[in-house]
Assembly symmetry: C2
Homo-oligomer: 208 residues x 2
């Protein structure tokens, strides 16, 4: 078999397995899904699974990487749009919110939490490859703000990239986890709260 076809076939198998795993993770949760489950559902023998992935964590990480590039793509279209700073900012927020709604299971992994295991070995892919793209995107968002002269003059670009990222993702996380409290104590639904928070946060960035 040509190496070309062979590689494609390998990719096909990997994708099948990942697809099956995604479905099960979604359905029963990551912990509750066993390698036997995945094998059965993907229609491979367990041995074959272990040919393509060296561990369950390996599978999980591959899925996270997939989602990471999807998210990066979506953010790119938000920020690259031909609009001003304010509009792009809100689009970015919206994009992250939508993503968190669609893939709550993966959101925290993507936002830089530990991977599956509690081991301290942090995979560098997110921090260095795809993460890089993200930082560049936010950086170009901020540059819009500079160009249109709406950013506060004392804003420094590089640290603000991380600052914006961390605050927005923190806000979304809490909005998800404290739904009850939002409802009961704050008397707001999640969307209202998010809108309010993003708007308030916006004020920390722009001239008034």
């Amino acid at each position: 078999m040509g190496t070309r076809k062979k590689a494609a076939l390998e990719q096909f198998n990997r994708d099948n397995i990942l697809e099956a795993a995604k479905e099960l993770f979604e359905l029963k949760g990551v912990e509750a899904t066993t390698m036997d489950d995945i094998a059965k559902h993907a229609d491979y023998s367990k041995s074959t699974i272990y040919v393509y992935f060296k561990s369950k964590e390996d599978i999980y990480n591959s899925i996270v990487e997939d989602y990471m590039s999807i998210l990066t793509g979506e953010i790119e279209t938000c920020i690259d749009a031909e609009t001003g700073f304010e509009d792009s900012y809100y689009r970015l927020c919206e994009c992250l919110v939508n993503f968190e709604e669609k893939y709550p299971k993966y959101y925290s992994s993507l936002m830089g939490e530990e991977k599956m295991t509690n081991s301290r070995k942090r995979t560098d892919i997110i921090n260095q490859d795809v993460g890089r793209e993200l930082r560049d995107l936010i950086s170009s968002l901020l540059e819009k703000g500079v160009k249109h002269n709406v950013l506060r003059k004392d804003i420094e670009l590089q640290p603000t990239v991380l600052y914006v990222w961390s605050a927005i993702s923190g806000i979304i996380q809490v909005a998800d986890r404290k739904r009850d409290i939002l409802k009961k104590k704050v008397n707001m639904d999640r969307d209202e709260y998010l809108k309010y928070s993003f708007r308030t946060f916006y004020e920390s960035l722009v001239r008034r």
Copy 2:
């Protein structure tokens, strides 16, 4: 034995076990610590451990609750101090930073992340008991701001409690996890970055 003495003894045993578990969790990580390890190190038989705690997760959660009340206490002294809004705000930030430095292993659990397991059953204790205290403390911080007329007039108290909490904890989390990037790309050490972020964020709250 009087029920009084008996209860005290039970507490004593529980505390011993928790103490041993804390040490091992610190030393080798939570996942890597087995129940046998804990039993041996605490000098009880495994059966006895299971008399006092129904699972490893139970132990972990108890430890988290301990730290939660420690943290709440520390925040209380920060905010109750006889100082103005700005000062209390920075004290709160500092307090959280210190805590994250001292107990990085527990920080994310305290901040509302999932517990040990990936199960969706969220323990309500944090959300309803101790979490309540925290929200009250931040609420009283904000009231200081209102009283001294430094808060923006369009700030609504209740949602802002969560807003402040989520942004601050997000900032600290990222500052910890992206140390490398801070150093290499932003050219700032963690403390500088935190100072910068807290100051910038402060601007989203106050009149200018």
